[in-house]
Symmetry: D2
Subunit: 247 residues, 4 copies
């Protein structure tokens, strides 16, 4: 069932409404179904306890936020960087592995023409399928399979590996990329980065472009209280960007 | 004249070839026009001094890199973050100001459906026009105008302000956004961030979602030499993301 | 009562023992008073449940760790930086304000010849006095007073202001410093930094040397799990270092 | 020859004067020897071209800055952190290896009771000796020797290894430390950190307390231009702090 409306309370809490024909119960009181049914994009409603709620049609950003929770998800700061560095665009054919909950595939699916996403576990594919449906994306191909063993696609623009041993997929990824295509590995630890770079270096037509960490630091800005937040966002992963230079 | 081919030397230096019917002179010798004319995507050529060059069709990532040089350009790490946080996608209608060389507009144009870009100076618009042509993008509307005074578009999904006084555009931006739309300001200094946040806070239907800095740290990975690079990439700008919650 | 022994369990938990003539109860069982009484520096004891404890004489580092808990304390990374930048040494005469729990004064007291520490509140001075006693330091002068109004000392080498409005103390600090002496302000927010720098700039013989933030990033290193810790240490404060150049 | 005076021009440039009986030539004109001879601490002089110079007696911070130039030196941010974490104080007996130019030994010598510093190369020891003399420090013992092979001292409080293969010194360092003492390794790369931690872990009485990176970020603060400096200070080294828990 899709998300029909988003309600954000004046305190900043977000609610995802799947059925506007039911009352919405929140910790700040409830919103009546009659009000929800009639709400247009941007309507201001009041709960029974008088708290204001902004109600609007969900943007993809809202649904994506909803499906991309959890510790194993690549954060947006890193996905945005990968898209930016590889020049991902409306013509791009992208492959990602492993699928997990499908969040990265959905992210790429918002930007790219077509996304192939490989996953070993059927239970994860089922979760991913629901998330893709929630996002309303039609350009994502779920594939049960192991990229360490085989990649069926050819002439891909971008491959993103979020796997424990990305070096095991380098050979298959190389064959599946077109000349000029990008191979990206996302890994939390430095020994993984080392082993991936060593494997990439064995291919004379693959070149490591960049190894980076992206940090996001949030600030508090309220009158004179202008300062980085006390709690920083910690480490997520290193991004290795390699490129196939010759076919 | 478009970029016809990219040549990357084995030492990692990139050359943008606009005319394959001429010899390409590099600091590692020259590539013959006959070879360049016949090169397919991913062909390996050798210069007269024996240096290897990979020759391939330019990806948008290559052309973007070419046009986005210079100190005033928003770095890719920040553009990627803005796109990721706002959920920019193939259906998005985006406005950015000021255009400058058009790099940000081109970046958004790779992802979004349509981009309106406002610039005060005609000479900058002329540069931007050439860059957009080089990128081959058809969905960017160049507009001579001042967003402090007027924004003609309505129901926009995302507005990105890269201006010295973004707070002067908040009122017009608010009117131009649809409910649920995002207003982003990019500013190098904290007093600019403060003033923008103060102005946003005057609108009860605008909510500051996040104030962040994105840092990119590059690593060196060569055998046992695994370490952050000595020269870090410095500060570029603070990103304020606000949202219009009600119409 | 001083800390007589430190016990560190094999799981890394630290216990501060003030009375070796009593059993020590821990969440890993208890250590017998007979064993504690006879323990030398570095003795290995076992609790009644078989857990190993290393028992040793407290170093100043241990006692300092004990007294420097709490959110309002300047972290060691910042105190170490202040000492390093000002060249604090065995001959230095240092003043700090406000005293708070006395942690910063104790830190400087470990290094400097003499420390004067100003505090408005008598209850804080009482806490500080106990902490100084615990550290066994004899070179710290507790002073009830307000540096915004008066500093009695002259020819000081270093003044460190950890106060909400450090700019109000600039004039007095200037008079109290010797030529070549350092004036340091520690502030969590950028507007405080701005106002302090503006005030310093009014004195032609005071020069701002540096405005910095010091970040500490902890790593996890266990076999192949080599990575920055997920939870980063957040922002504490900005350090402004100014210098008096002429008398 | 010691440094007799420091002159800082109003533009912030520092000059180290070894002979006040000679004119000082600067890029902002020259200061007359008569003026220099008569200058007291904090005297304001004017060059022949009218530029102001503050002249004062050198603080240890000034001389230390002078001797600690060069890429191989441990930066002050890191030395300050090491001193702070180990609780280095006026009673501490410290050992450092290798000496290099002696900068770290001088830094520790300003704080500790006694510093033993080991160096393999006689030419480096000669440079270090001059720097120690310049600092006027009497508590530093220069030792020609290799800590991988032997450490003669016993019951040390703190050992700091700034060596390419610090793991080779762990056994000797362990024997030389007192129970409760600290063993610190400073290394630029992660594989060095891994190998040091592995070696430390083989000793059941050594415990790794912390692996950290310290970053220093400088800010620009001029009226409304409040922002991190464009050029960040890059990576220097990782600090591993271990402790000997039992004798």
């Amino acid at each position: 069932m899709p998300i029909e409306k988003i309600a954000i309370s004046s305190s900043g809490k977000t609610y995802y409404i799947r059925n506007v024909h039911e009352d919405l119960h929140t910790k700040d009181g409830f919103l009546k179904k009659d009000d929800l049914e009639n709400a247009k994009n941007g309507t201001l409603l009041r709960s029974n306890t008088g708290v204001e709620f902004f109600v609007f049609d969900p943007a993809l950003a809202d649904i994506y936020k909803r499906i991309s929770r959890g510790p194993q998800i690549i954060p947006r700061k890193d996905l945005g960087f990968i898209a930016a560095e590889t020049g991902m665009n409306k013509e791009s054919i992208v492959l990602d592995a492993g699928t997990g909950s499908g969040a990265a595939a959905c992210f790429f699916g918002m930007i790219a023409k077509e996304v192939f996403t490989y996953e070993l576990r059927e239970d994860f594919l089922a979760i991913a399928e629901k998330n893709i449906e929630l996002m309303g994306l039609k350009n994502i191909m779920l594939k049960l399979g192991n990229v360490y063993e085989k990649i069926e696609e050819k002439e891909l623009d971008i491959i993103v590996l979020d796997l424990p041993e990305p070096w095991l997929a380098v050979g298959n990824a190389f064959s599946a990329l077109k000349a000029g295509g990008f191979l990206v590995a996302y890994s939390p630890t430095t020994p993984q980065v080392q082993d991936f770079v060593i494997e990439v270096s064995k291919h004379s037509s693959l070149m490591v472009i960049k190894v980076v960490e992206i940090s996001e630091r949030e600030w508090e800005v309220k009158e004179r209280k202008v300062r980085p937040k006390s709690q920083a966002i910690g480490h997520s992963g290193f991004i290795v960007i390699a490129r196939k230079l010759s076919s």
